[in-house]
């Protein structure tokens, strides 16, 4: 996932992605407070998802919408 995200951000033809993402972030979160809230919210969702996976499914990975891990 980290590789995919880095590729999307720094890979070929990624200038538009960076430009658009920065523009969108600037528009959606004009101030540092709103930006901090969005980052905190994002982290909370991520942590909640991980916690739920560990507690409810005993650490099992949910591959949905796929049926299982890739075959490599």
């Amino acid at each position: 996932m980290a590789v995919a995200a880095a590729f999307a951000w720094f890979g070929p033809m990624s200038w538009t992605t960076r430009y658009g993402a920065r523009t969108a972030i600037s528009k959606v979160t004009p101030g540092w407070v709103s930006r901090a809230i969005v980052i905190a919210l994002t982290f909370s969702v991520a942590v909640a998802a991980v916690t739920r996976a560990v507690l409810d499914a005993g650490g099992a990975i949910d591959w949905w919408p796929f049926t299982g891990p890739p075959p490599f």
């Binding site: 996932m1 430009y19 658009g20 993402a21 920065r22 982290f43 969702v45 591959w63």
Partner: protein, 540 residues
Amino acid sequence: MDTESIGTPGAPAEPGSSGPRRSPTSGAEPGGLPPGTEIDGYTIVSRLGSGAMGTVYRATDGGGQEVALKLLHSHVDADTSALGRERLRREAVALQKLDHPAVAAILDVELEGADAFIVTQIAEGISLEDEIAERGPLDADDLLALAEQLAEALEAVHAAGVVHRDMKPSNVLVTDDGPVLIDFGIAHGLEDARMTSTGLVMGTPGYLDPQLLSGAEPGTATDWWGWAAMLAYAATGRPPFGVRPLDAVLARARSGDADLAGLGARTHGALAAALNPEPRRRLGPAQVVRALRTAATEGDPAVEDGGISRGQVAAAAGAFAAGAAVTQVVASDGGTRPMVVGPPSDGAGDGTYADPAAYSEGGDRAAYGQPEAAAGDPAGEGASQWQGYERPRPARRPWAVLGIGVALVAFAGSAPGVAFALLAVLVILARWVGLMTNSLHARREARGSRRGTEPGSVGCRPSSSCVRCSAPRPGCSSVPARGCCSWSAAGGCSPPGGWSSCPIPRRPRGRSGERTPTGSSRSCSASRWPSRRRSRGSAR
């Protein structure tokens, strides 16, 4: 019209003379009236040119004297909304008020008969447009002579209460006795009511004061702006704001983005300041002439190196002569169609200059012909005059981006499928926003900035930089911020720090091409500009 002749006095015609009469509708013929046609005692000799309102003929009056006869186009006469006869009447009234060697004297006018026409003196000459197209830009001496003589003529016109409104190279004749202003077809009395429909403006793109495009009333400043644009054309050999597309020409004029590449520092500075879109900050004609005189007598240090080929000059002038400089209700460079103008900018609608005292009379700025920030300009905001569109640069937001990325990676630890789908959605969304935003800003860059809508995005902040540009440089104002020194011959600012604090450069327009020092395209050192004070060697 390309070339026109207006000159020696002739006796007034005697109405009702015998001879073949023209049909009142024959003025619509593409080739004009055939030689020998008689109109109210005047016999057509040849066609001299044609404009938006009428065709000008060389004609002879009853006494055999040659005159210039401007016959109203029949289709303009038939179109009541065009107010052709009223415009012709105004032209006649304007000319009757004028008694100056640089303005053709009116001899006769006919407004009541089947044919509406106006008769003026005729003199041999070539239009300034053709003069520059054929022989290249003027050197410093000739430019000074042109500036002085035209300024004198224009002052006389204004003193008579008339605004010419269509100052452009094709409306100036170069004669043995100096320049002659012609075509007062859309001239306007200072006290006259406006004839052009509200929301429309009459003039020639590239030589039309941008204030008129903003809805301001015609005034003396209108003519002085055209005068400065004409000098820029004479100095560079290129239309100062290009020829097409029309939107780009008007956007450049509105942003003061004149093509003055290759001019010496003093000439460049003076003309750039005189073509400032904001009337209050423009350099007045006296200051421009003073700067040009300094350039002619003390030299004009080059702004930048480089040269423009004669071919490029000829091509630009040729394209200009091909039809872009036709008086019209501002529209395309071909046909005539109305264009809605925007609201006037604050404090500029009176079309007058600020008190000349607003300009610095001392120091480097005066020496280089640079205006001070206008009086009352808050906190030196005059530096933020660059009206070209400067695209905003979004902040990098590294922590926000990193935070979202880390959250995605963490999420992928428990639900990789959903996390990848989320990443794909976010990337697509970001690319879409990026493409749309980029497209929006590209359009705005092409059209120029709408005045005053984005004060924070144009120019350099005066508090952060000394922003006098050696040329209309991307992101920089063309006028120094308060407290900044004038630029040096080597370019840049003093104290240093000018360029580095400017915002990101705009895309180059690819209009300048190679550049040349002032006057380098001239091959002879003798003045070619006629002067009333010095006799010219031979008539052209």
